[in-house]
Symmetry: C2
Subunit: 470 residues, 2 copies
Amino acid sequence: MLQNNFLKMNRKNFFVIIILLTTFSFGQNQIIQQKFIQKIYNVALNDGKSYNWLDHLSNQIGGRLSGSLNAERAIQWSREELNLLKIDNVYLQPVMVPKWVRGTFEYARIITGPGKTMNVPICALGGSIATPNLGIEAEVVEVKNFDELEKIGKKQINGKIVFFNRKMPDTIINPLKAYKKTVDQRTKGASIASKYGAVGVIVRSMNFRLDDFPHTGSTYYGNIPNKDRIPAAAISTNGAELLSSMLSINPKTTFYFKQNCKNYPEVLSHNVIGEIKGSEFPNEIILVGGHLDSWDLGDGSHDDGAGVVQSMEVLNIFKTLNYKPKRTIRVVLFMNEENGLKGGKEYAERARLNNENHIFALESDLGGFTPRGFSFETSKKKFLKLKNWEKFFKPYLSDNFIFGTSAPDIGPLKSDNIVLVGLRPDLQRYFEYHHAANDRFDAINKRELELGAAAMTSLVYLVDQFGIQD
Amino acid sequence: MLQNNFLKMNRKNFFVIIILLTTFSFGQNQIIQQKFIQKIYNVALNDGKSYNWLDHLSNQIGGRLSGSLNAERAIQWSREELNLLKIDNVYLQPVMVPKWVRGTFEYARIITGPGKTMNVPICALGGSIATPNLGIEAEVVEVKNFDELEKIGKKQINGKIVFFNRKMPDTIINPLKAYKKTVDQRTKGASIASKYGAVGVIVRSMNFRLDDFPHTGSTYYGNIPNKDRIPAAAISTNGAELLSSMLSINPKTTFYFKQNCKNYPEVLSHNVIGEIKGSEFPNEIILVGGHLDSWDLGDGSHDDGAGVVQSMEVLNIFKTLNYKPKRTIRVVLFMNEENGLKGGKEYAERARLNNENHIFALESDLGGFTPRGFSFETSKKKFLKLKNWEKFFKPYLSDNFIFGTSAPDIGPLKSDNIVLVGLRPDLQRYFEYHHAANDRFDAINKRELELGAAAMTSLVYLVDQFGIQD
């Protein structure tokens, strides 16, 4: 009995010692990581390139829709900048992308009576066809969703313009969720309304704020034949309120709009790729990226110039600190996120064909605002392990690790072997700029942008140090 | 032995049952609180008054320095608005405040040679005396801190302008800490430099960003006799960089500045107070507030129009939800935070004289940006209990409860019996606006402002429900 107790004690003590040793060694390790992360932040905030890079991309190049001359300029510029970092490898990956051109005009008015008109700000939705040369004038059917359309029925809708006026719900705290509750109006509105005989579609902009900016974004016709497609445009939130109010006074109010946008055949474009080869596990690839294309109304500073320069900054910070990664760190600037995701799909396809082993992919595509944390798309088990790293981000107030979706361009890489991650900045302002003419460099805050780059670099650093454990 | 074990089991079970019951009842309670907090957010985001109130305060009234006509207008306006809420009691609390007037001009130039001048943006520091009518021109001694001044010595400084050029350190993540590391140049620079025979003081604006806005704020002469006081002005960060660069090229570069600001005798002003009486514990006062005065260059939207309307919103939300507080909820709009803190001091003095029992005071005075959490100035023991409430704020991403300082106006209430709390919004942009001409309504984001008001209301609600436990 005594001996038995003694053995028990010993076993107990043994475990206590093991636990203490583990804690101590992890503790020591943790201090090394913390110190390195502090250095990462110091470079990003004091000596980083992200803000100046974005200044160039936004103000010297500007909006860069897939297939445009500006998109080509952005490809050449980012390749040159990556080359200047003297990393191991910089190259372009060919990809065919859609080419849609906004054209030379787009305008609209509400007509409340003979000679009584009010101009309202609209913009063509990406991928939309043009109106006839003389424009379209028709009565308006205002709905909040597709069910209402079904209830109203083809007879009432035929020959009219459908006006989708569902607001982003104010009371949803996470703006991304509010966006997802309304964006189907834009992506599917034209395709669905055309089936009821509508002649055009006007969609309320996805924007919490009441203002005068129409917000573009893709609309998809699916397999509807060209002759049956109808033109679609976004109206500013103020414009939507005005139109709705006029319709409530007089349901016979008509709407006129005109746009000469056009779809062209696909053209050749490129993803831009740069990498530092891993010293120990070169075949384990850690990807960090954003998308190089943007909409054409603003200069795409938040969507996704910020993600582009933050991703490039990860490599710049490692080079500045003379950090030699164990694993291969690859930056990918994807083409064509906005209207096709062709870059992301092509990249994933090539990675599969080449049997590349991506262990981790991080994308920034929600604007350059103060980072709050990361969203992990992986198994719950892996997520819970990664969540232990929150402590490293606590001093930087970016320690909100959530289990959820990641980001569009890295989505096609999804498999059981990869952890997909999206940077999660503060989003309260994001949808005021998203896809609109005011998504411009002056809406970027230098420190916020740099803090995002530093958080991304720190996470990539931790993955490089520890790998991904099952 | 068996019986003993049985007893042990029973005792064990008893505790398990107690724990389960506690968890369950707390769980039930927690759900009730969570639901009410959801309602609070719904009102703030959907049906709140804070943004429109701030629009009026900023755009119809504007900058409201203590003792000015605008400050008086703000007092009358906020009293009327509180009266419209039909709360139990609205009144003004008299307080004598300093009156300093900026005057009709302030300008400056760098003189690099005969006829070679460059204008730079300056503004007089609050409380500063004027320059002589013809202005001051003198050589410049550039320093980073008071130690350097001591090293250079009176002989070298006598008759010159001292230029304090210490930057806010970029690499400090919390901007408030970076501010506190530099603001002594502004508050004490003139008083200290005058002892070395300086004829004037120019202070680099407390602003991370390089831009053209000079940032004002108080400077204090202490007990230096009037005849020995020297004028002090802030220079924009770009101006500071330019001046420093010119001095590095030619140390004989002179600086000229002219300002006709003036100090007047104290005048009568008021704190604005409104309250809902508690139904169960009317003598336990929960205070929520901000400061009604602002600097004069902008319209004081962030500092502290935001805090004013968020505090008023707490009462508005309770009235909208028909919530009858158990304790007395009192909003206090303090006068004269910026250049004297007379309102805060007077309020605390009166509270003491009237033996009022303040159990809790919450102030918002760090701008109207996305709320991240609260900073608690109390005992560690009370703080750890309050920290249990973080869970209520997690769905709103405002759950960062820290142990630290609170806010200026409620500071004089400090005692062992009160918990002082400061709202902690995201601060990365704050010092770009703080005390400068660009602190204007257009720098306010509606949702961010409203989320702050909702977080404040929720915390006040929890204190009202549970009180403060020792």
